[in-house]
Symmetry: C2
Subunit: 196 residues, 2 copies
């Protein structure tokens, strides 16, 4: 097979950056970690981090190996307005789990439950990549946004657990659209309903 132009050294650099990023995000959280500090710790120039991974968001997603890009799917869920956003969120969530990358989602959840380190990374992912973006789209009282987001996360995480990991029937084998119809209203209430 013809060698490509990419030298093996590039792969090592990528891995060194990813290792440094994982430590930084895990120890200092998404907000506390800087591209500059990650580059220093990996022994490379910050420009190289941007070259390989783009933004800090993208670098973070690469370290958690998330199979989807929240930057794309979150605005899509909200662009049709608040009506039906609960159903669209559940539908998107199920389409990821039911797709070939679903096993990665299960692996993420498994790992988060096992290791404090992974739990911290999943929490950072949820808060900075999913919940913050959703809060921006939501246009609710900013003081209420974090609790609404955490409530949504609680129903979604449990749906993943019960349908895909513990596999409790009839949720485990139910057609996705039936799940959307049953759980969508809960998500809708958490997003825009009264909080008492």
């Amino acid at each position: 097979m013809a060698r490509t132009g990419r030298r093996p050294g590039n792969q090592d650099t990528r891995e060194a950056i990813l290792d440094a990023a994982r430590s930084a995000f895990s120890e200092r959280g998404f907000d506390g970690a800087s591209i500059r500090a990650i580059a220093t710790s990996a022994g490379v120039d910050p420009a190289l981090v941007h070259h390989y991974f783009g933004s800090k968001d993208q670098l973070f997603l690469a370290t958690v190996q998330v199979p989807i890009n929240p930057e794309e799917f979150i605005p899509k869920i909200f662009e049709q307005g608040i009506d039906g956003v609960g159903e669209r969120l559940v539908r998107t969530f199920l389409s990821v789990w039911d797709s070939p990358v679903g096993s990665t989602a299960a692996a993420l959840l498994r790992s988060a439950v096992q290791h404090e380190w992974s739990a911290r990374m999943l929490r950072e992912f949820l808060v900075t990549q999913i919940l913050r973006r959703a809060q921006k789209e939501l246009k609710v009282d900013p003081a209420e946004a974090p609790v609404r987001a955490a409530l949504v996360a609680s129903q979604m995480a449990g749906l993943g657990m019960i349908r895909y990991i513990i596999k409790v029937e009839p949720l485990a084998s139910m057609p996705a659209e039936d799940v959307v119809r049953l759980i969508g209203p809960t998500i809708q209430r958490y997003l825009e309903g009264p909080l008492d």
Copy 2:
């Protein structure tokens, strides 16, 4: 230290029965496993199984090491009628997690996510010990009871994950009564609301 009247052999017998019960429940499920078959596999008389563990339900609870007895707490939640049952369920759930046995609940959930075997046992526990009892108390259309029970399980499992394992704020540090107020209505809807 003075020896008690209990011979070491008793402990071995108990362990042998528990081992046989774990295999039986895991391989054949709660309904498919019989005290007689478990006794045979442990090499003891069925009467001895009853002597050590009481009913099949109690034997099963001993194998999963569940820190609470659903036979007691489920009727208590339902005895005041359907009104407020969602809030009482969330309150009971949180009081277990916030108590000294909470670490056992976390260990159960962790283990269920890690091992197919534990997931199966947790599913059997949920279905036969919690959901069936709740369905009996509920007096809803029996055809709808399993889906209502699975929906409740999905919200409860996710609440456990997000509050106690992944620890997403503000849910992680929120006073229990605030969680009850926020999530109780979801449980109430799953138990008695329209399913569409």
